[in-house]
Amino acid sequence: MAVGKIPPDDDFISFLAKDKSFADQIIDNSRSMISIINRDYIYEKVNIPFCKSQKTVADAILGRTLADVWGEETFKKHIKQNIDRCFSGDTVKYEATFTTPCAGQRFYEVVFRPFTVDSGKISHLLAETFDITDIKMSEKIATEKEEEFRRIEQMLEDRLLQAQKLETIGSLAGGLAHDFNNILATISGYSELLQEDMAKSSSSFQKVKKIQIAVSKARSLVNQMLTFSRQVEQEKVIVKVNDVLKETIGFIKSAAPGNVTVRSRIPKKNAPVYADPTQLFRIFLNLLTNAIQALEEQKGTISVSLSCQSGKKVQARLDKKIVADEYALITITDTGKGMDPSLLRRIFEPFFTTREVGKGSGMGLSVVYGIVTEIGGEVLVSSVKGKGSVFYVYLPLTSGTNGSSNEPGSRKKILFIMGNRHESNILSLALESAGYELTKCPVIKDLAKVMSGLDVSPDLVIYMTDAGSVSAEEFMRLLKAEKNTIQCILIDDPEVDFNEEKFVNSGIKCQHLMKPVSLKEIKSAIHMSLR
């Protein structure tokens, strides 16, 4: 038969009655579930999609009540009131979730339309139910995407503001550091002048010595301030982040208290960056130490992972100009106390600390910020109060290799008496990458053995005092050297009781550095010794 124009709602049933098989075809081909319900809430007609959703045939549904099909509770709660409204003459439209045997729980839009069969009274209603789950889901995804987008936008805006603020603080700190160093130079100079008028054994001499120690502490603080404001030039070599991370994790595992579990996932793949290994060690150590402190002596886990990310991905995440095709991403996660947003915004500022006065300078994270930014990287943090924090460190990867021939350190032979294994390994990494030839002596009592294995005597000895203490005489005997023929650099650990004065005054040509030592410092000390 020819398809005429679709009749208005009120005439729908008469249209159905006229050509039943055609009407059946239409409603069975609909994608909606269609049914006709009478005033006793009983199904009088259902289409094929309806049957499919119930995983049954029409005969199994016809004659049954809605309460029977959908369950008493669902019927009373969600369906009955709408049907009653429809029977009073309204077209009712609503959204609800229903569970069907075929599809499980889905979102539906339900439309009830009243109609009359013959007497003019509303005797039935037509129920159309559309599955709108997909629409709902995509709406939900769109909302989530939008929220995520807003969140990222907010984060980037915060980061920009923060970067500008840190830049301002940095230049202030830099100016202050400059003036401060002048003052320190004056104090230190006069203290040396004072000592010239004193006997070395006098108590005044020792008091002046204390002034000098205070000056060197102040100097180190100023230096941290300058590191934050990126005004300390770093001596860079190509170093594998994975190697530095492994040593840092080894160090932290040996030092971490019992409540802390340290987990790490460091892939074997090399991630070379152009940086000072000692500075990288310092930033990872700072972040890990903070993570331990965030646990507040509660049981908790610190996870460290390393992965490589494409520059494009990093650009999308950071929304900044990228400087490399690939980046190393180091993630440090703790299950500690977390931070609220007001705190989070300020953590990279110098001298900002949540610890009690005297328990931390508040310089740690600002130094991390300075070092990471200086090598073209980025450090981000996210935190949930009470749940923990995650620090993300992005470092640009380099494809170059260390040129050994043109390095100033090439062919210089150094005997390295190692202290703490991990710290010493980092320093070895740095020195070897800078082109020095190292012979390592892991324990000082093996010094004689190591020396006897050498064909040529070393140009210089680096002695970390936490390797164990020996007297100057013993040192000379082990090295089989005369006092004035050997050049030595002492790296002093403030925790270790080592009488470096006696050592120096014994006549050994010796320079004295304090931990932590940067590659730049040790290189300039080596340069001074060997010129």
Partner: protein, 124 residues
């Protein structure tokens, strides 16, 4: 008596250096900034210059270049306490420009005096 010119804008620090050097029988000349140092430079009696790098008026790097122009064999020690470009990089530039020794503030004045003696010994 060898002459040392101290160019340093911080008066306390300049005074300290003056007192320290004076003990070693040097003739001490002073300038509070680079411009004065060049205007009043006396090549005949100045053998060595200790100069700060970041100063008002003429900065230390220009001072090094100009002094070298006037007196090519003058010995130069550069000192810096950090600031805009940082002690490291500034000092390295100074070294590249021909400073004979470089020190970051705060430094050991005794060490500097040893260096001065060494530089002036080679000179004589």
């Amino acid at each position: 008596m060898p002459g040392i010119l101290i160019i340093e804008d911080d008066t306390d620090l300049r005074e300290m250096l003056k007192v320290s050097f004076a003990r070693r029988k040097y003739t001490i000349l002073e300038a509070g900034n680079g411009k004065d140092a060049i205007t009043h430079f006396k090549p005949g009696i100045t053998d060595l210059v200790v100069t700060d790098l970041i100063m008002p008026e003429e900065d230390g790097l220009k001072v090094i270049m100009k002094l070298r122009e006037i007196k090519p064999d003058i010995k130069i020690i550069a000192i810096s306490g950090g600031g805009k470009a940082g002690p490291g990089s500034y000092l390295n530039v100074a070294k590249a420009l021909g400073a004979d020794a470089i020190y970051s503030k705060p430094f050991s004045v005794n060490e500097m005096i040893l260096k001065i003696e060494e530089l002036l010994k080679i000179e004589q």
